[in-house]
């Protein structure tokens, strides 16, 4: 056991924490190790300051700048924990642990399709930066949009919104059909219904897809078996529960049951 390899919670300095869309915040903090080690699709455990909230909040890493030692996360305020994060100011600190989970496995191919829904969009940014070849990015939002300019630096970006406020009205799948999306590999992160639709879409076209899932977590490190999703097996029950935090959050669309 070499002490050097021992990971731990880190108290990090917040460099920026700004609202980039209604209720959506982008936080940049300094943490050299996370900035160096992160693979696209991994996440960090973010801990609350209010000690009545004892569990970590898993937030995907949006992008990293290894040389500057900077890490960016983008999160939506949905409850008390994310509300608390949104009140933090540059110069204050926050506790994080990571990078956690297995990220996406970038596959070298001519054309890749990246599909993001809502706050599932952020982790695709680091991925699009690292992927070779041509990348088609499809982003779906309830209303409005964010991070689009960042994506545009690396790829052609298509947008769909439920209310038509930005891009095409409808789901991101509608949009993909409309523009005739094509590629040899799909990567996606977003709400379950979107992932389920994509599973069908890729299956019909026989395109391999990596889907990043979300589930309520206890530990974020694979210990509590709280954050499970169903994965096909040829046992009697037809499935087994796998841990989103440790076995995922990215799963093969062929295997995962949504």
């Amino acid at each position: 056991m070499c002490q050097d390899n021992i990971k731990s919670k880190k108290t990090v300095s917040i460099i920026a924490n700004e609202e980039i869309a209604a209720g959506v915040y982008q936080m940049v903090f300094r943490e050299q190790e996370i900035a160096e080690r992160t693979k696209p699709g991994q996440f960090v455990n973010v801990y609350c300051q209010a000690d009545s909230r004892i569990l970590p909040r898993p937030i995907s890493i949006c992008q990293v700048e290894p040389r500057a030692g900077l890490v960016t996360i983008v999160y939506m305020v949905v409850g008390q924990g994310t509300k608390e994060f949104s009140n933090l100011q540059a110069g204050q600190t926050i506790d994080v642990l990571g990078p956690l989970g297995n990220g996406f496995s970038p596959v070298a191919c001519e054309e890749s399709i990246l599909v993001g829904g809502g706050v599932g969009t952020p982790p695709l940014l680091e991925l699009v930066k690292q992927l070779p070849g041509t990348k088609h990015v499809f982003l779906g939002f309830r209303t409005g949009s964010y991070l689009v300019d960042a994506f545009k630096q690396y790829a052609q970006v298509y947008i769909a919104t439920d209310d038509g406020s930005v891009g095409q009205q409808g789901t991101v799948i509608d949009l993909m059909n409309a523009v005739g999306a094509k590629g040899q590999q799909v990567y996606a992160c977003g709400p379950k219904p979107m992932l389920a639709a994509l599973k069908t879409w890729t299956n019909e076209r026989d395109i391999p897809a990596q889907l990043s899932l979300e589930e309520r977590m206890g530990c974020g490190i694979g210990a509590c078996v709280g954050c499970v999703c169903k994965v096909k097996t040829d046992t009697e029950s037809g499935f087994t529960y796998k841990k989103v935090c440790k076995d995922g959050p990215v799963f093969d669309a062929k295997e995962v049951i949504l």
């Binding site: 056991m1 002490q3 390899n5 021992i6 990971k7 731990s8 919670k9 801990y47 000690d51 009545s52 909230r53 004892i54 569990l55 970590p56 642990l97 589930e215 309520r216 977590m217 206890g218 530990c219 974020g220 490190i221 694979g222 210990a223 509590c224 078996v225 709280g226 954050c227 499970v228 999703c229 046992t235 029950s237 499935f239 087994t240 529960y241 440790k246």
Partner: protein, 300 residues
Amino acid sequence: MHTSVTIAGVTFDNPVMTASGTFGSGKEYAEYMDLNGLGGIIVKGVASKEWLGNPAPRIAETYGGMLNAVGLQNPGVDVFMEEDIPFLRQYNTNIVVNIAGKTVEEYVDVTKRLQQADIDMIELNISCPNVKEGGVAFGTDAGMAEYITKEVKKHAKQPLIVKLSPNVTDITEIAKAVEAGGADAVSLINTLLGMKIDIYKRRPVLANRVGGFSGPAIKPVAVRMVHQVYKSIQLPIIGLGGICTGEDAVEFMLAGATGVAVGTANFMNPRATVDVIEGIERFMDETGVEDVRELIGALE
């Protein structure tokens, strides 16, 4: 400074263990700490065959605590023995295997198979609130608690710890029953039964509707029960329920615990057990306690 304690003939380098179900089988934490530092590792519950567990969501947060309804997902004792015991045996710490079952036969079955395994103790979980059959009923009825203890004990060459449920009117009654049944030690508390409702969806947050309530919030109930049990039986006690710091651990020892286990705190910080061990040592240092055993039951 003397920190080792003996429970049912097994010596622990220090009183601190990991609570079943919160530490996996230890592998997950090896990245965060040196497992050699632990008094013991109580591994997640294992059954005679694979259990799938409950659907998600399995976790909910509450004020100062959490609910879980994992439902004892485990790969079965054979896989466990093949994969986890060899891993754990690399470390200089005690291995305590927490066992689950739906019937007496299942409990006996997993006990029998564990006789081949290189482990230090068995912990009989008769108090899991997340499994419909067996589990909890065994833990809330004194007669059944005594009976299952006796049956499992017949087949266990390892010292047997029985883990008690706090969801009872009188925990001393159950403690006396398992003592009569031949338990070598008791551990308490398992989780309280709790519920959380998503008021917007008008649904319980957990797919299982109710779940086991743990974490710092529950400590006052756990300390009270440990002390009640300490006064009513002779067996050594492993105390747990909300322990986050060395001070918390000392509180349980003063109440009567010989060993302690850290559960939910591992989720709050993967190095929580290290903090607890260091905290006990610091407390001993500052208050001039030479031997940690002085603390056991030393409540006025």
